[in-house]
């Protein structure tokens, strides 16, 4: 039965029409979403890059247009937005990522584009010129560090190293750590206890900060330094009860309980060490070479700053891994792969890469750009020398593809906070961490298949 012309619209029919309208609207919106960067390649085209403004500012976007002829539409990096774009089938053409934790995670979920065929034909990014740090962006279906390449680091640091302020050491009459030979983690903590300055319940100078880049890579690299492995061989389990992992856990809990540096129980409102260290309120800061970019710009700070090797555990191997390797990757469903690759080459091998290499904000990820690292001033020479020495001990510490960096950190902090307050023993925490993290890994494994 058809409604009579001119009859009042019934509520039922109105709702039916509204639902139809909603459906049409949804389809229209979806259509709009699909219009983002479609069907273009090479010069004169537009690609979407999801990155932070620090990585790709307006000046670089303009320079990209001038150098490659390709327009870049930058969208802010945001994990929630990235997942929405991946799910809707209109992903960015390039995405910022942290190689150490993102590469295996996304590659295992088949959302990353293998780039080997592009590297094979590139005259800018030649495989023999790639620094070993770029192996963080490789995944063979089981293990990180091997197999096809899925991305590249824009620069890197060995993130277990630390900076120290000689003025803070002088004030407390503590001998400077060597710039070539590592001290042990126990010695580092002992120094931090001597260097911390407190007054009326306030920490006026932190003895030292040691939180790594993210907990997942911090725990994995420290356990490797203790001579063990946090993960099972097939990466389907963690085990915090092994002697090596337990030693790491106990050390980190001591660090938190002693309140010598920022931690979940003693937060630093700056969110990272840079401003606190620059203000002379931190004697040691666990950051690698890249923080030299900030330190070098402040002449007074540069005079009293030294870069020291990654600490070791007594009897353990000397390991100095990169915990980040931040760079970019290309989604498998990117719509402008050729244009994206051209921008990728430009960003990692041409003018922006050279500018980054000479800025001191990280070690270039191409061997051929090493000569551009700043080495004119005393501070730069000294830092570069310490860094060159440390590079001999570089290694890739693989992590599980079945858990994300944020997921690990969230579960770790939630379980460990009572222990950081001294309300839970190390052994009980180790058991608790095994339980909650392995449960998450199991879910991840089921979903990866």
């Amino acid at each position: 039965m058809h409604p009579r012309a001119g009859a009042p619209l019934s509520r039922r029919r109105f709702l039916a029409l509204s639902a139809a309208g909603a459906g049409v609207g949804a389809a229209a919106l979806n259509g709009c979403a699909l219009q983002v960067s479609t069907g273009v390649s090479g010069a004169g085209e537009t690609i979407t890059v999801m990155a932070k403004a620090d990585d790709l500012g307006p000046d670089l976007v303009k320079q990209a247009k001038k150098d490659t002829g390709i327009s870049i539409k930058r969208v802010d990096y945001d994990i929630t937005k990235l997942i929405a774009m991946l799910t809707s089938g209109s992903p960015p053409d390039l995405v910022r990522g942290v190689g150490a934790v993102d590469a295996a995670f996304y590659a295992a979920r088949d959302v990353m584009q293998e780039l080997d065929s592009y590297f094979a034909t590139s005259s800018v990014l030649r495989p023999d010129d790639l620094d070993p740090v770029n192996d963080l962006w490789r995944y063979d279906g089981k293990v990180q560090g091997k197999g096809p390449r899925y991305g590249l680091a824009k620069d890197f640091s060995q993130d277990s190293m630390y900076w120290y302020n000689t003025a803070a050491f002088d004030k407390k009459h503590v001998a400077y750590p060597s710039e070539t030979e590592p001290i042990t983690f126990e010695e580092w903590l002992d120094h931090a206890q001597h260097l911390v300055q407190r007054s009326k319940g306030q920490t006026t100078v932190f003895g030292g900060s040691y939180n790594g880049l993210v907990k997942l890579t911090l725990m994995a690299t420290m356990t490797a330094s203790a001579g063990g492995s946090l993960f099972a061989d097939d990466f389907t389990r963690v085990d915090f009860t092994t002697p090596e992992a337990r030693k790491v856990l106990a050390w980190y809990l001591d660090y938190c309980r002693l309140k010598v540096g920022p931690s979940p129980v003693l937060p630093d409102p700056n969110g990272w060490d840079g401003p606190t260290y620059q203000a002379g309120r931190m004697a040691m800061s666990n950051n690698g070479y890249w923080m030299g970019g900030m330190i070098g710009a402040d002449k007074k700070l540069a005079e009293v700053s030294r870069l020291a090797p990654a600490p070791v555990f007594a009897g353990g191997p000397r390991i100095s891994a990169c915990q980040g390797g931040t760079g970019m990757w290309m989604p498998r469903k990117a719509r402008n792969k050729d244009a994206a690759w051209r921008v990728f080459e430009w960003f990692f091998g041409e003018a922006p890469a050279k500018a980054r290499a000479s800025s001191g904000w990280g070690i270039p990820s191409l061997k051929s750009l090493r000569s551009l690292m700043p080495h004119q001033e005393d501070f730069q020479k000294r830092t570069l020398s310490a860094q060159r020495n440390e590079l001999k001990h570089f290694s890739v510490v693989a992590v599980s593809p079945y858990i994300s960096g944020d997921g690990f950190e969230s579960l770790f902090n939630q379980a460990a906070t009572p222990a950081m307050h001294g309300e839970m023993s190390v052994d009980r925490l180790a058991g608790r961490l095994n339980s909650v993290i392995n449960q998450q890994i199991k879910r991840g494994k089921e979903q990866v298949g």
């Binding site: 997942i83 979920r109 007054s199 009326k200 319940g201 950190e409 307050h421």
Partner: protein, 333 residues
């Protein structure tokens, strides 16, 4: 075509002819006034209805569907688990602890902020000099974006360089770790009290509706100011207070302010929220975006939605005898 005339409510309307189904009048002059009114109503209402369908009903239905799956946003092998996520959350102590913290936060922050807002409203309702300035200043925090408020509170309550500890140490007390356990919950409540200007402005509007003659009569009868406030002002303000209670409870169990008070912003900030501020919505956010458990997090949201409905129903039930609606009986006829 037939028309069921017996059930037609259109008494007095022109009747349709059996042959064409059209009314005589519409055949000549187009749609009737009633039809045109209905059309106008639906035309005006339809943007909202379409928006509501697209932006509320559709996402809720989608979330309901997700809550029956193990979907994580990107992985290829998710599957339907029926009520599995709901069964899991029933036994998940982290979920119940987070809900308990959200409930505790609502129980403390809602009454405190209503009392503070009402007290401020009473103050600025008096004939003061520069009353407009006071009203503006007290309302101002309510319009500060939450992100800005979070940054301000983080700096104010920083253990080592914040003004709060500066004042404590000035008077010889030891500094307190405000942003860590167990004190972080107090800072969270303070952020709500700080923005009580919002409640003040609504209460002020309510106060100005209280008939002055009632207070004059009470004064003539010898009632004290407190008695008049208790027996006249509060009953007349009770619908406003009920509104503030309901919206306050809903807002407080959904607060994401703990994330803005965390040392690290964004998704990473989730990982550094003190346990005492790890409330239900923070747990939901962590399950969605840190752990990638879209199905489980959607189930959490649906359970919260139902709990809010129940809580709202209970508030209405238990306040039905004490809320006084000043309605003109003649107007109701």
């Amino acid at each position: 075509m037939t028309v069921d005339q017996a059930s037609s409510p259109a008494v007095g309307r022109p009747r349709p002819t059996a042959k064409t189904g059209r009314t005589r009048s519409t055949a000549r002059t187009g749609p009737s006034m009633t039809t045109r009114k209905h059309r106008a109503f639906y035309m005006f209402a339809s943007p909202w209805i379409i928006g509501f369908s697209l932006l509320t009903i559709a996402p809720m239905a989608y979330a309901l569907w997700l809550s029956f799956t193990t979907y994580d946003g990107i992985s290829p092998h998710w599957h339907y688990v029926g009520l599995g996520n709901y069964r899991e959350l029933m036994g998940d102590s982290v979920t119940w602890d987070a809900l308990g913290r959200a409930g505790l936060f609502a129980l403390t922050s809602v009454p405190l902020s209503i009392i503070a807002g009402l007290a401020l409203a009473v103050l600025v309702n008096r004939p003061l000099k520069a009353r407009g300035l006071f009203r503006t200043l007290l309302y101002l925090p309510a319009v500060v974006p939450p992100v800005g408020a979070g940054i301000a509170f983080k700096n104010l309550f920083d253990q080592n360089s914040g003004a709060a500890n500066g004042a404590l140490t000035f008077f010889g007390f030891d500094a307190i770790g405000w942003l860590a356990d167990p004190y972080a919950r107090y800072v969270l409540v303070m952020t709500v009290l700080w923005a009580a200007g919002n409640i003040m402005i609504i209460s002020l509007a309510g106060l100005q509706d209280v008939p002055r003659e009632l207070h004059e009569a009470a004064r003539i009868d010898g009632a004290s100011a407190w008695r008049a406030f208790r027996s006249i002002t509060v009953p007349l303000l009770s619908p406003v207070l009920l509104f503030q209670t309901v919206t306050g409870v809903i807002a407080s169990v959904q607060t994401i302010m703990p994330m803005l008070l965390a040392p690290t912003a964004g998704t990473g900030g989730l990982t550094s929220i003190p346990q005492s501020n790890y409330t239900y919505m923070i747990h939901v956010f962590a399950e969605y975006f840190a752990l990638g458990r879209y199905g489980y997090a959607s189930a959490l949201l649906w359970v919260l939605f139902l709990l809010i409905l129940i809580a709202t129903g209970l508030i209405f039930k238990f306040t039905s005898g004490v809320v006084f609606y000043n309605v003109d009986p003649e107007a109701q006829k």
